[in-house]
Symmetry: C2
Subunit: 357 residues, 2 copies
């Protein structure tokens, strides 16, 4: 190893994750069968795909909106639901692009400290009593950036608060199916389908380039969101929806996810081992799935200067401050994506990082 | 004919417009060659396509942003350039969805009366002197909804005003290449590349389902817009960009456009003849290309009640009011899309319409 750049910046899958041959066959078959629909305008997306997704969530296609990425669907939700000055809660830390979307909306952004089993409930209850939010954005499974999973107990309390104080929970679940060990925890949507808007995508389980995201929620919200989306761009890109539908319809998705787990599990193990071995002084999370481990560096560390020094050593890091609604709280925080690196590259990266501390 | 619904609502191509076989071959070849890129995240879109588009406009790829529809790129522009309360000018009438995007931004929307050779220049100059807009949205070729083309003289005056008063002209040109007779008029972009943001798409010349739009403009604006787009959705859908790139790269687009002209030209002729024959009392436009003819009905007509009565006769119309910033001005206005109807259907539709008047 030694030489070469090690990139710990973003959660990007490796290119060998993409089932290229199957996807080519699927797009060909889909276009041959249904070009009149797939090459034409649509509104809420490709109906067979919405029906297939609906079955996974035990709802009809009227409760499913597909779009060109779940991030964009989140922006649609924010534009629809949140008015300037209204409160929006996020886990602290949270997905940097979701924070950006909420900031852009003019919402009053409130971060609720995230612990290893979900947000701190006392802090959440205090904030809710001070002023209920319009929505709370939660990545309950293998959170981006921390890697932690919200416990069932905390999920129940979250949705109970949402029901009591009438706010929306936006449950973003792109990593949910990438569990490498342990047991699934029920989605918040399954606990309170009338209070939870569930977002997910095919980016992490199939291909990010297809930008295929979806929202599952109460029919009236999905209808409102669909109207807004029609005004915004008429309809989403369809040939790729046909391709992904055909792929799912053939039952290939589960096998692909199993294949990805075989690639990613050893990488997560390598990351955790390397952190134990080389950075015992940092506080790390111990995720059971997803793309990310995170570490809180020892007191006195400063990620901004660290990031600059790391770059000189061929180690690319994301400044942890971008994940916090209050950036100063991220001054010792690092997110470490492991999925696109080999175990050897991961160990080398952690060795370089440890050398810098 | 006689029975059956005749749909004069929206500008949707007929399904026989889509070159299905070629597109299937192109997506297969593109994915085989470049799956590592096309199935992965990107930012400004697929570089080979941006380069190909740049060549058409004699600019580099840094002046081209691709996205999931030109309508969405227009929304990106509006979000970037227009602050609430600022003035935005549109032709009156104009594309209803562009009007919606500008309204959503909180702009003060001003309609400049559109004549058969472009906007009324006196009205435009008066409005500019009253308060220059941040941008003016113009469909200079085969305008939606009127069908008219802005003359070279008026294009020159428009860009001269934009230069003098420092506002942007957004030139939306999706129909430009569908000219059935007469001569091309230079784009406004070619007259003032530093003051014009040019939008176009593949919806009308290839397939709307691919939702592939693009913006061409000064490098600094494209860079700013790209950053905003990355925050909004990371990057556009790519496999379809690979498909369309391959199609263009093989030199198939010109032939497809010629084929479309053979389909659409007789339909426009049929529409103009039917209007001459059956509705001589209405004032019609005489487009030389595009998707739409429009008519101003005789004094005393009312499109809202007409639309309801027409529906009972199996004739679907769009209420003309939606195309006007001041909806009341559209009370006698009808847009008549002809591209997806056969000449016989067009004549039947105009006969039904004439019968209602």
């Amino acid at each position: 190893m030694a030489a070469g750049i090690i990139n710990f910046t973003r959660g990007v899958p490796p290119v060998n994750a993409f089932p290229v041959g199957d996807l080519i066959e699927c797009v060909e078959v889909a276009l041959k069968r249904d070009s009149d629909t797939l090459l034409q305008y649509s509104h809420a997306g490709y109906v067979p795909l919405r029906e297939w997704l609906g079955k996974q969530y035990e709802v009809g296609p009227g409760q499913v909106l597909t779009g060109n990425s779940s991030l964009e669907l989140f922006s649609f939700l924010v534009e629809n639901l949140v008015s300037p000055g209204e409160r929006a809660f996020v886990e602290s830390p949270s997905y940097d692009r979701a924070i950006t979307a909420l900031r852009r909306s003019g919402a009053e952004l409130v971060g609720i400290p995230l612990e290893t089993d979900g947000v701190n409930l006392n802090a959440l209850e205090d904030q809710v009593k001070e002023g209920a939010p319009t929505l709370m954005y939660v990545i309950a499974d293998f959170q981006n950036p921390m890697g932690v999973t919200t416990s069932l107990e905390k999920r129940k309390r979250l949705v109970a608060l949402a029901e009591e104080y009438c706010f929306w929970i936006v449950e973003d679940a792109p990593y949910r199916r990438l569990r490498y060990w342990g047991q699934d925890v029920p989605t918040m949507r399954s606990l309170a389908p009338e209070r939870v808007l569930h977002l997910s995508s095919f980016s992490k389980v199939l291909s990010p380039g297809v930008r295929l995201g979806y929202a599952v929620g109460p029919a009236d919200v999905i209808t409102k969101l669909t109207r807004w989306a029609v005004d915004w761009y008429i309809g989403p890109v369809l040939p790729t929806q046909g391709m992904v539908y055909e792929y799912c319809h053939r039952g290939l998705l589960d096998g692909n996810i199993e294949r990805l787990k075989q690639i990613y599990r050893p990488r997560l193990e390598a990351m955790l081992t390397a952190l134990d071995d080389h950075m015992p002084e940092a506080t790390q999370t111990r995720p059971e799935g997803g793309f990310f481990v995170s570490v809180m560096l020892p007191e006195g560390s400063d990620v901004t200067t660290l990031t600059a020094r790391a770059r000189e050593m061929g180690l690319l890091l994301t400044d942890g401050r971008s994940f916090f609604p209050n950036p100063d709280e991220g001054n010792r925080f690092l997110r470490l994506p492991f999925c696109s690196l080999t175990p050897a590259e991961i160990e080398e990266g952690i060795l370089r990082l440890a050398g810098l501390l």
